[in-house]
Symmetry: D2
């Protein structure tokens, strides 16, 4: 399988370029008979979409067309394909800068990878627009998991210097439901205002900001994960790094483990309500790459959007000389509030894939016939 | 492929249990005609091995036997299999604690995953001992890369509160060669003494410590990586999380990106020595999941070894009651100085795999016949 | 990867249902900078299409829309997606027979596999219509191979009792070019008339016929194939059995080997024109699963189309009683003359995939930048 | 995954060379808690082994050592590795003919594939000896299937001109049990004598013979297979072509379909004993690549062993001139009676793999804890 397919049992293949005819996804390995909750799917896509002053001016309907695998609202079990047309394509915005790679974008590395035949307009295959079909695919996986009592949620733990509290350990389910009810992914109402103000401020300075997203998976049974290599952490991490701008992933206490003694870091076991639990969750619900029944918890760092309006140093690839670039066109001063929906999507896809390793597709199809 | 195989073009399958007959690896997809540098391979294994007061008392020869794929010192191109016998097996040490999962170990999650049929002695399939064949496999990949001018090195950036300087940007090659010449992976001679003292101190307190490893890949050409999912970051991360105790991975500035503005985080391009380079390397040599020709840089966090001599709370899985555990047997107060060799190994395997995606095996076999 | 994706290096994912919105393909792993020969691609699709009296009355334009991966006629190296709309959909034809599986069709086995959620109209995901995007994908692979001097051709070796001569050993290239120049895949002009008459005769009797296709691959270098399991034979066979109605595959002398002594079956080696060749080709150009430099030769059997107009015994799946069925709607009295284009397609995909194992994508991209 | 690994859910990696230290297999994805029936496993290996006058003189104990994944006779769920030492290695037999490829062997194609670094002695990685660990792995899969009521059997339908009756449709289970109780795979007692006489006669003439094996899978439920590409036929065929000397595979009526009308070839459905069945089984239990609940039936052709004692024309690869070869050393005048065990093995592996696609590993682990 080549690089645009994720997963082993439940596979998602993503295709498209930002300014080509369409972007889309093929999802294979789906159980048949799953009634797609279209409202939920569109809601997830809405969370990912540009909106308000704080995001790019490009506004498209982004309604996916389902061209295969769906009949009367139910999955057929055959590949489900969805396509999102690119309606608002303006190649001209990019013509001038074609040979001047934007700093910290994929323009240059992609140019080398694809030999100059790539469609660089609007980021091409690297555009965040590719995350639209990925989010739709993830919404279907989220629905599969919800039927097993598994919830996924992500909030902005930190936007530049503005932090909010982490997910509660005791009321995690409620916290996930809270953040999932909001378009702007925060737990504390005050965070939204402050963060939006900061994003606008960055935009006004022709600059951009990043931050840290915290994600939790609630309700995943113990015993999921396939060491030595298809660990829960490894499979999640590979999927998470497909989300544009993600540059780091940490599980549980993550990099803070470096400052702890083993006696502080270990999570003691205890019997609670007749089940084995841990008294702390520094390990983010994962031991030895396998879920231990506690909530899965991890953080991803989203770098500041590389597209900024300021003049930047770059090179002219044709003449191989130094030059400058001022990026025009549409771009976001932050993507972190949109990335949350994509993080949820890939998390769901990774978890569903590993669950299918244990239960097969029949485990998601019971009572069909 | 199931969870114990890593890679697509160059695959490594790891097998074995700590107290079973043997551990080992099968490497498939190797170019034929590669003369294995056995001294180098054994040297990498030595770096991974327990040594001195600061590590476990278990001392084994760990000499791999090559049972297939190697003739007169050259790879045949058929699966190369190496086996390391477990000579010093003491199942009794573990008998008493069989049903008492050690906190933050894989005992419990593994018990659920493998249904009670796992060989829990000494960590079984989760033992760090499994990293011995992985290190040997990685040494072969490192050698393949070295012939392409690619060097990999890892040092202890931080052990608990003791830090040392990061890899130099200007003299990276020298730094890698320096750390690779040392059994204890530090750049500054003073670090070794301080860190070893801290490890012994932790051991004396029946405790353990963790830290942060910094890794660099020098000499990788631009254009390597297969977005959207088989990104250089994603493929590396998946491999890195197979290393026991790794709980986080960050590329370039990693989590520090959260505190930066885009104008600070971006890496401007410039022509230097006739080639495109970046003036800073916040992105760790990767844009859009593809190498940009700058050194690849990332950090992994190694949690404190969960095996500590102190009394800890746990459960009795048979009676489902709370109890306590005091771990006896052999264990390390730190594994970070050993993990460096495993990190190098999986890094090499991941990079070689992606390079073969571009060049095929013929790209590593030129001039054979 | 799930069942609708073929290949490892060059992957093709096929989606769609006969009477759904569209069928299509995503091709990943393509080299960038390949100028698609659209005339050739459409020509291959034309060969696959229904035509004349001897085929189904369903006539659609079948023009693929390229929605990603193609810019100015060149592959971008990103996933190439093509979609073919289903324009002439008549669900009503099938409504009456919904619960009565057609003998020797996939109706019943598919019903069990997909739990009753499948779109059974017109064969749904099992329709020969799915071979349209597969043929288009294969045409691109054929073009990649042609640039390496590799030609593929297939002719009707036998239609029911009408046989024609096999491919010539001496003039194989000319024979391939000859058959590829014809819409009806025969070497001898007289065969076409006789075979078409037989097909019409079968149609008149509300019956159908099958036959044997012979395929040759000319110009494939020695050394291609990845034993023990990804043999040239195994990889080809897996791809060939994806073609509807294929029930057997034989390489070289195939089942006739059973009647030979080793002394008759062996292909002696000889030096010819400075190269190693074999004096006979009973092995169809493959020894030990690896090409030996001689032409690859194999035959596939195409069973008679199961859709026949006669009354047939079947069951009513709702009442679980015996009943009868008379298939109306559109169907072919033979598919063998259309299957040839699909056989060529999957052959090209399989061979290109194995060639990329050796050469990587760079081997197909030389001289790009 | 590279070419020496078979399967997706249940994977088998085969390694080793005929005259290297050992051959072996790693099986990953096994359910935990399967009690290996060692008598059955050894019995399957015995069926594969050389025996009596009619086979090669090489006699080895071939007892597999289980070096991982097995504890107290039960699978642990971790990779199960078995190794078979090569005890009776005689490299000298082959030294003289090193550069003279044996006609119809893999010597030449393998030489090109592996660049001259292959271990050609005794066939090296192409030796039928590699089928010993494959047979052991398959025995484990056969056992998994047996617990689901699925039986597999193979008999010699035809040895050169000597045929015996096909498997009975009505008493298939009994026929499978009958042939599985015999070391020489025939249904009719008289066949054994006649066939053995023919093999000895061929040996006396320094020649060899081949034939056709018929295989049946009894008890496989309907709905197994993953079209469009991972069809039951395609997955089986790929596995079958890994068996040395197999040059063709046909399902059900196979190539005889070419002579039938659709009205003769179709298998009408009927309700029998409350279940859907077909009144004939021309399709060998498979429609649209998916099992239909009827027995799976297929035939494979085994070419005459290429190793014959007669003088044959070949080339000297060093001088690139024509020459002759007389093969000495150990070789079989027929392998078909040994191949039956390998055919059973790969059939079991393929079917178990597809069953796990539906049921996951949990489907084979029920009632564990």
């Amino acid at each position: 399988m080549s690089g645009n397919t994720l997963g082993k049992n439940l596979t998602v293949t993503i295709f498209g370029e930002s300014h080509g005819p369409a972007v889309g996804a093929v999802i294979d390995g789906l159980p048949s008979g799953l009634k797609i909750d279209m409202d939920f799917l569109l809601d997830q896509m809405k969370k990912r979409k540009a909106s308000g002053k704080i995001s790019t001016a490009r506004q498209e309907a982004d309604l996916p067309e389902f061209v295969s695998g769906l009949k009367d609202g139910y999955t057929e079990g055959t590949p489900l394909t969805l396509i999102i047309r690119n309606e608002n394509v303006r190649r001209d915005d990019y013509a001038a800068t074609m040979n001047k790679p934007r700093p910290s974008h994929a323009d240059y590395s992609g140019h080398i990878r694809y030999g100059g035949f790539e469609d660089a307009s609007g980021g091409g295959h690297f555009s965040a627009r590719l995350t639209a079909p990925l989010t739709a695919a993830g919404a279907i996986a989220m629905q599969m998991l919800k039927e097993k009592g598994i919830l996924i949620g992500t909030h902005i733990r930190k936007l530049h210097h503005i932090e909010e509290r982490p997910f509660s350990e005791e009321h995690l389910k409620e916290d996930i439901e809270l953040v999932n009810s909001r378009l702007f992914a925060v737990l504390e109402a005050a965070s939204e205002e402050k963060m939006k103000a900061l994003i606008e401020e960055a935009a006004a300075k022709k600059d951009s900001v990043g931050g840290i997203l915290e994600t939790a998976v609630y309700g995943l049974e113990a015993g999921i994960g396939e060491p030595m290599f298809d660990t829960l952490e490894g499979v999640l991490a590979k999927a998470l790094f497909a989300v544009p701008a993600v540059k780091g992933v940490q599980f549980g206490s993550g990099f803070a483990f470096a400052d702890m003694y083993g006696s502080q870091a270990n999570d003691p076991f205890a019997v609670k309500d007749g089940a084995v639990q841990t008294l702390s969750n520094h390990n983010g619900g994962i031991n030895g790459g396998i879920s231990n029944g506690m909530p899965i918890r991890f953080e991803t760092v989203i770098k500041p959007t590389p597209s900024i309006g300021r003049k930047q140093a770059t090179v002219d690839l044709e003449t191989m000389t130094n030059t400058e670039i001022e990026i025009r066109g549409r771009h976001d001063p932050a993507v972190i509030h949109r990335a949350r929906a994509v993080i949820d999507a890939v998390t769901a896809l990774a978890v569903a894939d590993l669950l299918m390793e244990k239960y097969g597709r029949a485990g998601f199809e019971e009572g069909h016939i």
